[in-house]
Symmetry: C2
Subunit: 472 residues, 2 copies
């Protein structure tokens, strides 16, 4: 999985240095260090050189030199990926962090063109400055870059209404594996002139080229927003509630986040200054956010929804955030879930999706399977019901020997993923395959699919120099 | 462009007949005739055999036989395409019209899985029966099939809010060019496990396989809807009005159709029982439709919008539809535009898109270029401002010799398309390339793009048996 690439010849390194100039590369261990380790410390790699090109043309120069010499490249954005796809093991590391230009923001087109090194948070800010909204939002948004979230087709908390990163991309500029620049930057909403090449680059995890810039969609700023935390007795009730909420709001549900009691309890226990707004903490909580184009509309829709949901017995309790700081406090309870699990000794983490209608059955069956495989293990479930996307994490039993538990991770994950497969789900809903799931995905994909993907890869990168260890 | 494919050997035809049985093929001229002519009569082809497989497995059998013998196949859906991509010239013709099963409709997933031969109108009806909305809508929806609208990535009138057909597809089942079945039917909203192969099949115009079924997204049914026809002095004002409308409604604009006076006058002249709701017919009209999840919400938003637009001088007159029949009458005025142009002696038709913010300048520059090229020619402009997609059609001068005018079509289209290219637009926004624009597209695409597409096609269909004459 992490066999190192062959050593890069000094003469190639010299050529790269000469092409990019002093600002365009580094071999200084202190500069390199943060680029070589995944932030949770799960992967630490090495590279003969970090390239930091300052323009698309410099990226093209660097890739051309590598292509001519058959040298492998790992493209890296904000280094926030969770599956090891951005960590080099002997390959040249090419960071897009210096590609920082805002090429244009055109509100009448509801579009902006940003270079790859701009962070997701900055992208949201550029949209806001033009009185528009850019919806993609995730925990790492202050660090994750546009190039990275495109290459991994990132999701996050607003997918329910706005879709994944794939849905936000109107156009892409990329340096292809042969070093040529693909200029696919477009502000068009409709363009049926052959295969949509940008769709291949989105989610390709850097295997088909280096994304250097993108034209992204913008949306109207909503005029009202309302957030509630509600209590439910079953996960099945949350699916019914979601359908009801979408109908009542005409699709105005922006987020719908399910949380099982265990995760809620661990947030309260392990994260300072937190309080669950429902007492007692219910078996299942849902954080629901509604937005509307009409001032006051979201609050009215949320009130109407909760009233109906009470009457129908879908929910048993609810707390409505009364102001911005309460809204932020509710969201923090959701966002701190990952951090809250850490002190419990780590876990077997799974980023899975299943059809929404099957979520409740999936949770039951997977939990039973885990209990059989590892009695006493604690199951944490939280995630985006509206996308069928659950963070399904298994924690050791209280007091259990942690290293022994961690050692069973691979086997335990198989148990979970086998249930996912039976429910027509995905073993990587958001995070991608990276180095982590390269082997495993072959178990769940048909040979036809794997071979078709491999054929496309060979067609576009015949020397397999782009991120060679990831995907199939 | 339409060089016929080599003759298919009788032994191969016999094998196909035996594999599909009596219901699965025809060589009867009367049965074949409607499949061989494009509905406007622009292309009429021929085929040694029409295959009408009744299941995905039968499609796979047919394609396998053709693949083994190197025989080319044209897939055909409802035969409503406008660029000749569905008409055979000696190839085997494979119709998906008998693939008629509704595999599932699951409202909790906001999803339905339909086989390729179901029409777009039927798809809308299946959604409605489950208290959901399927948004793709276009003039030929009673005949166009799901397989066809996927293979051409069709658009239509609801793209502004809901996107193209590409945006409606969660999963695809297809028979690949080697005869194997790709089972990509998924009800998942998130799945990051390698390249998104379905994206290649969408809009591939049948060159990468035969789409046999698809899982499509469903949406909530809106609770209120309001339609107005408004008068504007300039096309630029319509772009400002659109931005204003999107902001005021939080993205609730479902349609925004611009119509120039010439087209409006021809509708009134050539289509029985029509009356323009604004008097006099303005230089520019916009049909705007707003929908909301709140009962009464759309009417209130439309009123508020029109009031602001009047105050700001964006519009000079407006008529609001008071009931369903008026709404239908307003829409008919837009939908009859193509039919209204016909009696004027045909025209040079263009299906182009440009960035929304540049629409007005594009119209001015293209119109001036046409006037220089063919003085007196009449320019008709109508289309979807929200998508930057204009139907830009040139009619002969009043009293001009029609055949002489038609003879200048290719040259005239170049004039229009050259302006489109200068505005970073697309020469085929909705209809695809088909046989019509195969050569021309090379002029506007980079060699890198064309070669990358060709490489993908070779990788997936090395014998080039799937719709060999279309695309690059």
């Amino acid at each position: 999985m992490t066999a190192p690439s062959p050593a890069v010849l000094p003469i190639v390194l010299d050529e790269l240095k000469a092409a990019l100039g002093p600002a365009g590369w580094s071999q200084d261990p202190f500069t390199l260090a943060p680029h070589l380790t995944e932030w949770r410390g799960r992967w630490t790699g090495e590279t003969p050189i970090l390239l930091t090109p300052g323009s698309t043309e410099e990226v093209a120069k660097a890739v051309s030199i590598c292509a001519a010499n058959g040298v492998a490249i790992i493209p890296q954005g904000g280094n926030t990926g969770l599956v090891g796809g951005q960590i080099p093991y002997g390959e040249v590391l090419l960071s897009t962090r210096r590609l920082r230009a805002v090429r244009d923001v055109t509100p009448l087109d509801d579009a902006m063109t940003l270079e790859a090194g701009i962070t997701l948070l900055e992208a949201q800010q550029h949209a806001a400055a033009a009185d528009r909204f850019f919806p993609l939002s995730l925990a790492a948004e202050g660090t994750a870059t546009i190039g990275g979230v495109i290459s991994t087709n990132a999701g996050g908390t607003q997918v329910l209404r706005y879709g994944m990163m794939r849905d936000q991309v109107l156009g892409i500029e990329a340096v292809m594996p042969n070093g040529e620049i693909f200029n696919g930057l477009k502000r068009l909403r409709k363009d049926n002139t052959g295969y949509d090449l940008k769709q291949l680059l989105i989610g390709a995890e850097g295997t088909l080229g280096v994304v250097t810039a993108a034209t992204l969609k913008l949306y109207p700023v909503m005029r009202s927003r309302a957030v509630a935390m509600v209590a439910l007795e079953t996960a099945a009730a949350s699916v019914e509630l979601l359908a009801r909420a979408r109908a009542e709001t005409g699709g105005g549900v922006e987020a719908f986040e399910l949380m099982k009691r265990l995760g809620a309890e661990l947030v309260i226990k392990n994260i300072p200054d937190t309080r669950w707004p429902l007492d007692p903490i219910p078996e299942w909580s849902v954080l629901i956010e509604i937005a509307s184009g009409t001032p006051g509309g979201a609050e009215a829709q949320l009130d109407a929804l909760l009233e109906v949901a009470f009457e129908e017995g879908l929910i048993t309790d609810a707390a409505i955030a009364q102001n911005d700081s309460q809204r932020a406090a509710f969201w923090r309870l959701r966002e701190e879930h990952s951090a809250a699990l850490k002190p419990e000794g780590g876990g077997w983490k799974h980023d899975v999706s299943v059809p929404i209608s099957r979520i409740a059955d999936y949770i039951d069956e997977a939990t039973a399977a885990v209990e059989r495989f590892h009695p006493g293990a604690r199951v944490s479930v939280f995630g985006h019901v509206g996308d069928g996307n659950l963070h399904y994490d298994i924690l050791p039993a209280v007091g259990e020997d942690i290293p022994a538990f961690i050692a069973r991770w691979k086997e335990g994950s198989q148990v979970v993923h086998d249930v996912v497969a039976r429910y027509d789900g995905s073993i990587s809903a958001e995070h991608g395959l990276g180095r982590l799931k390269t082997d495993e995905v072959r178990k769940y994909k048909s040979p036809l699919e794997v071979e078709t993907m491999a054929a496309i890869r060979r067609a576009i990168d015949p020397k397999r120099i782009m991120n060679p260890a990831v995907l199939f």
